[in-house]
Amino acid sequence: MTIRETLETLTDATWSGVVCHLHKTPRAFLPMKNFETLQLVAGRGIEGDRYMIGNEAGFYSHKPEDGRQVTLFEIEALEAIRRDYGIEIAPIEHRRNVTVRGVPLNHLVFKKFWLGECLLEATRLSTPCKHIEEILGKPVFDPMVHRSGLNCRILQGGTVKVGDTVRPV
């Protein structure tokens, strides 16, 4: 079996993860808040989140990005950053919407997977933004460079709940 095939078996069949935390914020720079559920709208984003497509308003605006309707982050990355850099980042601080455990985000680019009852398609890995250091007052940019989560498009919307299963299609 080639490495690629091994990877594909790994990512396509053998993993199953869980939703640990859900977060959103309505506007740039404002603190995220925890929610028990989030409403995902196909093709647009999360109800009430700053990146919801169609809600941009005014002179200052996020660039609407089709591939960034919902963002995921691995709780294992927070644990690794604590271990490798001694920096504590709470799930509410990484500024992605869904904190998951047991999901190989880095292998999911261009793939489809289920987040609870919602079907997502991963578009690209997220890159951290330098402003996160100002927002958190912690030097987290470097530690987050290769583990900053995953951007996804919503193919099928619905309600996502803490505890939901994340699984391959």
Partner: protein
């Protein structure tokens, strides 16, 4: 016109008052009352009043009052226009863009903390004292002198009522001697000062032989990103429009580009995403990105993190 990228916190003026003539207090909130970015006691924010009219004000409220930024602005007829704008042009319901809060004062949790305020220089101490009272800490004393009646005593009413505040009106009493005020307290105190320039100078003199960690002077210096100690200022030139601006060491080049309406997009602002890649014409640039190869750097630069080796950085934008 394409919307500008968001670099500020959007707030709405929810309430204003004028507790004494010439002092305007404003309460800024998120439009839905969502919590605002957190701050430390005594922190300050920049308020974007108009393009190129940005002013820094201390927050008067305490960090636990986290759904609001409260500022108090004294009308300065002879000032540079910021305070007049705040007094005459701002009204409840208007939107204001503000920066993330910065700075703040670290009080000593055990030893005595001495706060020396002059007039409207009380504002950061309102925040610090509200925070200490909230946390049940009484190890402080405020010496507050004003050229007239004190302007915001109700903001720290519990402290005034508890006798932890000395208020002096210098119209009717002599200007207090800061060394003498500090000498009333034991060694080990931590001292803080905010007020007009002569007061800050007197304070500096009074603490000149103190260890640095035991005093703090509030001067609202803008944050400078830790920069290369050898960096020199350079002129950033946009070849297409001919616009140019000097970028000082530690200045944000992204802000300069936005200010000049350069047609460049930014995302990470940390030299890793590649969105701001721009061709350079004259320089050479100092490349601080982490993605371009040497060959690519010969033509292009990730401008969000760039510096310049020469006096001019001309870019194709």
């Amino acid at each position: 016109m394409t919307p500008k990228p968001i670099r500020t916190v959007s707030t709405v003026i929810r309430h204003t008052s004028e507790p004494i003539p010439g002092i305007r207090v404003m309460v800024l909130q998120d439009e839905d009352g969502w919590e605002l970015p957190p701050f430390r006691p005594g922190a300050h924010i920049d308020i974007h009043l108009e393009k190129r009219l940005v002013r820094t004000y201390s927050l008067c409220n305490a960090p636990h009052e986290n759904d609001r930024y409260v500022i108090a602005v004294k009308r300065e007829e002879m000032g540079r226009g910021g305070s007049i704008f705040v007094h005459d042009r701002l009204a409840v319901g208007q939107h204001l863009q503000v920066s993330l809060p910065r700075g703040g004062m670290e009080v000593d949790p055990q030893e005595m903390n001495i706060f020396i305020a002059g007039g409207i220089g009380i504002t950061p101490f309102c925040s610090v004292i509200r925070d200490m009272e909230y946390r049940g800490l009484a190890n402080y004393r405020l010496y507050w002198s004003s050229n007239g009646p004190a302007c915001l005593p109700e903001m720290i009413q519990p402290a005034v009522d508890a006798g932890r505040v000395d208020i002096v009106n210098t119209l009717t009493a002599p200007i207090p001697d800061i060394s003498e005020q500090l000498a009333r307290h034991e060694n080990g105190i931590r001292a803080f000062c905010c007020g007009p320039a002569p007061m800050l100078d007197a304070f500096d003199k009074a603490v000149s032989d103190w260890p640095e960690e035991r005093f703090h002077v509030e001067r609202f210096t803008p944050v400078r990103i830790a920069s290369d100690p050898n960096a020199k200022p350079f002129t950033l030139v946009l070849a297409r429009s001919g616009r140019q601006q000097v970028v000082e060491p530690g200045d944000s080049i992204v802000e300069a580009l936005i200010d000049m309406d350069a047609d460049i997009s930014f995302s990470c602002e940390g030299g890793i995403c590649g969105l701001c890649r721009t061709r350079w014409i004259e320089g050479p640039p100092v490349h601080n990105d982490r993605i371009l190869t040497a060959e690519e750097r010969a033509q292009d630069v990730m401008i969000c993190v760039a510096g310049c080796k020469g006096p001019r950085l001309v870019i194709d934008a």
